[in-house]
């Protein structure tokens, strides 16, 4: 079934798709967002780690392989807001040393842009969605920028406990920049520090897309179609232009949505899957893939967590799931060079504790069960806190997404994600445990241990990397594919390297930069 042609069809109503929708709808374009999951409302967001699993997919549409298989579903979004409906809202930036890794160290890749190209958009996003923090304090690590629109969040003993350890080692912490309201902001209330951010904030204090860019897009008449699963991007007979998308609607009926511009904003895994599934005789290896790089150079973060118990009542249940403090003191790519490691580390301290589920206190001692677990839970309930060291792996072409031979219910090939960490990443993972324990011991905590286990895969970036030419990349720095001018990619898939910080702030900034570029050049881009 065909629908009336629109100006832009956006695949995915998460963080990046919502930015494109808001910018383009406000520029007068008829925008349709096709979202594979439900259209969540704020009052769906129950404060429960059990009920919070509803806002993630039910099983991955990917086969997961490699030495460190990618933990897809925990990270993914399903429904409006996407993964940013359950994100932690830490809003750190990349640093200048993230953009020329290949040129500087002979490893990884270079970005085609620099810190200064994105900096104004981080500032714009802060004013758009609301960021709390101390920008001036962060200047010990980064170039100056605009102040954040809100002061830092309140802190609690579970965060403050780490300050002594950092000071003892001559390391620095600043108030964490977070996309959460420390005061009322644009009619949205201030946070009440209940710690339920990660299952969806229903009061709008946390800047999830439902209350920021997606709300703006809807106000500007963008249309959201939930339960719309896109299977192909359609192209013109000569292969030069995208003409729209094919999708299956809530009744599992095939639909076609023609559009002048197609924006793929379905995350780093699904975008390449759709592009590879859209092969034609003019694009036999998938769309925008003459370089063979669609699906390649996936990157994930990993985190080395350190736990500590104190004698004091830390009120660990108070706060937000985002950090209270953060530190870039180990951000030099060679900070752990002596241990065979390479890559930046970004440290966060003082997230509110939950007691069940993947990141809960019970999983801080996965070796315990039975009476020993029960005793630990009682002991930790009011005395537990955690430090997390997030770190980066270098992009490797073998970390990739391909099509599998198995198909989903719509006949679309499943994807296969292959992911392995290299030796330098493993060394960085281990070095950060050593450093975390060293810091924790210096706090005076009565019990300290590293949360060692299988190396986790956190966030997902790459797969449709940006670059200067069609020979070395899939898109330009705005997300416009080199080969099909009206096919754009939004989201972390265009990151050539990941840096170490949480990616959403940069996703929003790059999406804003890309969407404004698209709006400005609409006449020459639209098909």
């Amino acid at each position: 079934m065909a629908n009336d042609k629109v100006d832009v069809v956006i695949v995915g109503a998460g963080a990046s798709g919502s930015v494109f929708a808001a910018v383009l709808a406000k520029a007068g374009k008829k925008a349709v967002l096709l979202e594979a999951g439900p259209d969540w409302q704020l009052d769906d967001l129950i404060s429960s780690d059990i009920w919070g699993r509803r806002i993630k997919p039910a099983g991955p549409p990917f086969l997961l392989e490699g030495k460190n298989p990618y933990g897809y579903v925990y990270q993914a979004g399903w429904g409006t807001g996407g993964a940013a409906l359950h994100y932690f809202a830490n809003f750190p930036r990349l640093l200048p040393n993230d953009f020329k890794v290949k040129s500087t160290y002979g490893k990884g890749l270079d970005w085609p842009i620099d810190y200064a190209d994105i900096a104004p958009y981080w500032d714009k996003v802060a004013d758009d969605v609301g960021v709390s923090g101390d920008a001036k304090a962060e200047e010990i690590w980064r170039p100056p920028g605009k102040p954040y629109p809100m002061p830092p969040m309140r802190t609690f003993p579970g965060g403050d406990a780490w300050k002594k350890g950092f000071e003892a080692l001559g390391m620095r912490l600043t108030p964490a920049a977070v996309g959460i309201n420390s005061t009322t902001f644009k009619g949205r209330p201030a946070c009440i520090y209940d710690g339920w951010c990660h299952v969806g904030c229903p009061i709008g204090a946390l800047s999830n897309p439902l209350v920021t860019y997606l709300a703006e897009a809807r106000q500007a008449a963008a249309e959201v179609r939930p339960y719309a699963t896109v299977t192909r991007v359609l192209t013109s007979a000569d292969g030069a232009k995208a003409t729209g998308v094919e999708y299956y609607d809530a009744n599992k009926q095939k639909q076609v949505q023609e559009a002048s511009v197609v924006v793929l904003a379905a995350w780093s895994a699904q975008n390449p899957r759709i592009m590879l599934s859209s092969a034609t005789d003019k694009h036999p290896d998938g769309l925008a893939n003459s370089s063979g790089l669609v699906g390649k150079y996936l990157t994930a973060h990993f985190a080395s967590g350190t736990s500590a118990l104190f004698d004091e009542d830390l009120q660990p249940y108070m706060g937000t799931i985002a950090a209270q403090y953060f530190s870039y003191d180990l951000y030099d790519k060679d900070a752990h060079k002596g241990k065979g490691a390479f890559g930046s580390t970004f440290m966060v301290a003082g997230a509110a504790a939950r007691y069940s589920a993947l990141g809960g206190v019970a999983n801080a001692r996965l070796d315990l069960f039975g009476a020993e677990l029960a005793a630990f839970m009682k002991r930790a309930a009011r005395s537990y806190t955690r430090l997390n060291a997030f770190a980066e792996e270098m992009p490797a072409i073998d970390n990739r997404i391909e099509l599998a031979s198995d198909k989903d219910e719509f006949g679309m090939p499943l994807g296969k994600i292959t992911h392995s960490f290299n030796d330098e990443a493993v060394a960085l993972f281990n070095a950060n445990f050593d450093k975390g324990v060293e810091i924790a011991k210096a706090t005076g905590a009565k019990e300290v241990w590293p949360n060692k286990g299988p190396m986790p895969t956190i966030h997902l970036m790459g797969g449709t990397i940006m670059g200067k030419t069609a020979g070395d990349s899939v898109t330009d720095s705005f997300g416009q594919t080199h080969e099909i001018g009206n096919l754009w990619i939004a989201g972390p898939g265009i990151f050539p390297t990941s840096g170490a910080p949480n990616p959403t702030y940069t996703i929003l900034a790059l999406s804003l930069r890309g969407a404004e570029q698209l709006a400005k050049n609409w006449g020459s881009v639209a098909g």
């Binding site: 059990i50 039910a58 579903v73 339920w196």
Partner: protein
């Protein structure tokens, strides 16, 4: 609007209980209530339920009474996109019932091989503890099914969910639950 008002302002949306079938009608109950009322299981067999009860209790004391078996049984009997299980977010391929059948079968198979034909529920407490300690380390001979360590992780998570992941669980630990939108009382 003060903090208390804001915290409570959406309480009317509370929908925490699960739908269990009682006498042909759908009734909203917590798993603990469903167990106490003897609600008939939909998917798990009696043997599988006995194994899950025993495993849940070995992993987290209180899990049996908190209704781990009714929780899992109800969850694997509904469409996967409605499921609230940890299996959902750990990349287990739906239908989730397949994973639980395979996992519980592997537990009893390995238990039977190690302890002279006795299923896990028939073991003494010290034997159950020994078995689980080997299971979590992938050190059980004769294990046939999903990786033993992964089964340990997911069943432990289910047990933690029903014991500690609820409002009652937080109260038991002496920490405030502080919901914006509360699941129904006790769940």
């Amino acid at each position: 609007m003060d903090e208390i008002e804001r915290r409570a302002f959406m309480k009317g949306a509370a929908i925490g209980a699960l739908a269990f079938s009682v006498g042909g009608a759908e009734v909203m109950l917590t798993p603990r209530q469903a167990r106490a009322q003897g609600v008939v299981l939909r998917t798990l067999t009696a043997d599988q339920a006995a194994t899950l009860d025993a495993m849940g209790e070995t992993l987290v004391p209180g899990a049996t009474e908190a209704g781990i078996t009714h929780f899992v049984d109800q969850q694997i009997s509904i469409p996967p996109e409605q499921a609230l299980l940890e299996a959902r977010i750990m990349n287990v391929k739906p239908p989730f019932a397949n994973f639980y059948r395979a996992a519980l079968g592997a537990i009893d198979g390995a238990s039977s091989a190690r302890y002279g034909g006795r299923n896990f529920a028939q073991l003494a407490g010290n034997e159950q503890h020994e078995f689980v300690d080997l299971m979590r380390q992938n050190k059980l001979d004769g294990w046939k099914g999903p990786a033993a360590g992964f089964v340990y992780f997911l069943l432990r998570s289910d047990a933690v969910d029903v014991v500690y992941g609820t409002m009652d669980g937080y109260a038991h630990l002496g920490v405030p639950y502080q919901p914006h939108i509360a699941p129904t009382r006790s769940w």
